[in-house]
């Protein structure tokens, strides 16, 4: 059985891919491609969250997974989970141990976005969650983790999967400008005409404006400090307000912030291009263009306070 392991990275259309595979599960299966649901309905989060069970043949998760494979009679197995991209060493070792011991033909697919675009997008996303760090502190943390050193990240995968085929792709110049079609092409899916490409299921993250990002971040910090009596009610109230608005200002990084990321990873990206023979060298190497950008510090504090007061329906008169 051939395994197509899609490992992300985040903010490269993974949710679109996973939703698409989920709604086309049957149609994929008919053409010999299994998108299993025993490790998670929309994506195979169990691949790392339940990895200890997967390493135990007596566990229910192990049995369910292999029963599903056996029952499908498929020759291809698609696994997708973008959080695998920077899995911690210990977990990655286990994922390697598990997959290598059961599958001989593994293909690892990673879509990469250039650092200064990805960081802006990812920061926005994590602040929608529980991150309370300002961009500068957050990016330091990510850089320390090695997240943006793509050659290093992929080497970690190669070390655990020495026999696997690595397919590294730029999140750029996608087939028909559609990540779903692009990945189908990568896994050599034979006939895409019978698949449902309904746009309603083509998940796209809603971008929010920079002020709202700051409001979410501050509210996360407020929760972190343990201040609201009912943190979940508070979070819900903030999110109801923020997501009830329309947004106009696009999130981009300041030129200096972009340039820093570009500069820091220029050599690493060049190595990446050479090693994986990527044709998108401009995309990864071009110096960022100057455009109006944003950092947290740019917000007019009065605006932030006004927004916070609006969450509490405090009319400004």
């Amino acid at each position: 059985m051939k395994v197509h392991l899609h490992i992300g990275q985040q903010k490269t259309g993974s949710t679109s891919i996973q939703k698409f595979f989920e709604i086309n599960r049957k149609a994929l299966s008919k053409q010999g491609y299994l998108y299993p649901k025993s490790l998670g309905v929309d994506k195979q989060v169990g691949l790392f969250k339940q990895i200890d069970d997967l390493l135990d043949p007596s566990s229910q998760v192990y049995k369910s997974f292999f029963k599903e494979i056996e029952k499908s009679k498929c020759e291809h197995l698609i696994l997708s989970e973008e959080n695998l991209f920077t899995l911690k060493d210990e977990l990655l070792d286990k994922v390697g141990q598990f997959l290598n011991s059961h599958f001989q033909d593994i293909s690892i697919i990673a879509y990469l976005r250039r650092q200064y675009d990805q960081a802006a997008s990812l920061y926005q996303e994590v602040v929608k969650g529980r991150v309370f760090l300002k961009y500068e502190a957050w990016i330091e943390k990510k850089l320390n983790q090695g997240y943006y050193n793509y050659t290093w990240v992929l080497e970690r995968w190669e070390n655990r999967f020495p026999e696997a085929k690595m397919k590294v792709k730029a999140f750029y110049n996608l087939l028909e400008n559609d990540i779903r079609k692009d990945i189908l092409n990568e896994i050599s899916f034979p006939n895409i005409e019978k698949l449902n490409f309904n746009e309603a299921f083509n998940f796209k993250n809603t971008g929010i404006d920079t002020l709202s990002i700051e409001i979410l971040r501050v509210s996360n910090a407020f929760v972190k400090k343990g201040n609201p009596k009912d943190p979940e009610a508070f979070r819900a109230k903030v999110r109801k307000y923020v997501f009830g608005k329309t947004f106009d200002k696009k999130l981009v990084l300041h030129y200096a912030q972009k340039e820093r990321l570009w500069n820091e990873f220029l050599a690493s990206n060049q190595a990446l291009i050479n090693k994986y023979q990527l044709s998108e060298d401009e995309y990864f190497l071009d110096k960022p263009k100057e455009e109006d950008g944003w950092t947290n510090d740019d917000h007019d504090p009065e605006e932030v306070l006004l927004e916070l007061s609006r969450i509490y329906n405090l009319s400004e008169g």
Partner: protein, 320 residues
């Protein structure tokens, strides 16, 4: 009859001193010391003098002088204490009015003034302004008060008093070097030592009632929001809560300026303060207090704005 004129400055414990003088009125009277009531008694100070400056009526027949003379005549004191910290920066023409007022009645005048070093005094005044309607950002406030205002040039201010009252003894002291850290005891020892054995001084717990750093910044933004919103502003009640809370707790992070701001202030005023030291014969401890560089606090890495936002959210949560 001697006049003891306490002229402040503000934020040096004047209210505590005035409250003491008012409360101990009878004991002082017993020693022929008068803390007069006829010059006004708003917040225990003789506020009608300042009021008369505005109306130019200090020495008019229908002014406060007649009542004051009547009070003196009735009580026959040896010493009279007049205290209003707002007199500190009286304009020269007002001081001249005061001189006429005083010289008619007293043969001896002692002026006592407590100073607070500028890099401590300015944050306190800025904070006081924030509790009012100040919505000027700190930088422009500093530019005005460091480089344009005469208030903090103590040497100039005190020389106005010296020039107006050349015969007076001017006693310049500092809050950095108070007897038992208490302006009341210091004042008594300095100008009315004859009563000190009759008074049991209340033991004081020095508590810092300064507003805390984020609340101070929050007040600034609330003032701006109040300025911009229609009356009644919804932010007014939050502002009142911030001010009210600040008088109920002791903060570990009182409102203060940054190290750079404090150094800038110290640099600007150290020469003027050195001149005071020689002109007014300050004690060595007072000289040190007024001329030593500010204590540097550890660099605060915490983002002030962040703390303002969190503080604001605390108040919004409390309002629910």
């Amino acid at each position: 009859m001697e006049l003891i004129l306490h002229i402040g400055q503000q934020k040096t414990g004047s209210t505590a001193l005035q409250t003491f003088l008012n409360e101990k009125y009878a004991i002082l009277r017993g020693r022929k010391i008068l803390y007069p009531q006829s010059l006004g008694n708003e917040h225990n100070k003789q506020h009608l003098i300042m009021h008369s400056f505005k109306t130019q009526s200090l020495n008019e027949e229908n002014g406060i002088k007649a009542d004051f003379l009547a009070e003196i005549s009735k009580t026959t004191p040896k010493k009279v204490i007049i205290s209003d910290e707002n007199m500190f920066v009286g304009k020269p023409e007002n001081l001249n009015q005061l001189k006429v007022f005083v010289n008619d009645i007293f043969h001896k005048v002692k002026i006592i003034c407590y100073l607070r070093v500028q890099h401590d005094q300015m944050p306190s005044n800025y904070q006081q302004g924030l509790k009012g309607k100040l919505s000027k950002d700190l930088r422009s406030w500093l530019d005005t008060h460091i480089y344009k205002s005469v208030y903090y040039k103590y040497h100039i201010v005190l020389n106005r008093w010296k020039n107006t009252f050349p015969e007076a003894k001017i006693l310049v002291k500092t809050v950095g070097n108070l007897l038992h850290d208490d302006i009341v005891q210091d004042f008594v020892e300095a100008v009315i030592p004859e009563v000190k054995n009759e008074i049991i001084f209340e033991s004081k717990t020095i508590s810092n009632r300064s507003i805390d750093q984020p609340s101070g910044h929050l007040l600034y933004f609330l003032n701006k929001l109040i300025d911009k919103s229609k009356h009644p502003s919804p932010f007014q009640s939050i502002k009142e809560s911030v001010i009210s809370d600040s008088s109920n707790y002791t903060t570990k992070t009182p409102f203060a300026f940054s190290n750079e701001e404090k150094l800038e202030i110290w640099n600007q005023f150290k020469d003027s303060n050195t001149l005071i030291a020689s002109d007014f014969k300050l004690s060595q401890a007072d000289i040190n207090y007024l001329t030593s560089p500010p204590e540097m606090k550890e660099d605060d890495q915490i983002d002030n704005l962040e703390r303002v936002y969190l503080k604001f959210l605390e108040y919004l949560e409390k309002r629910k």
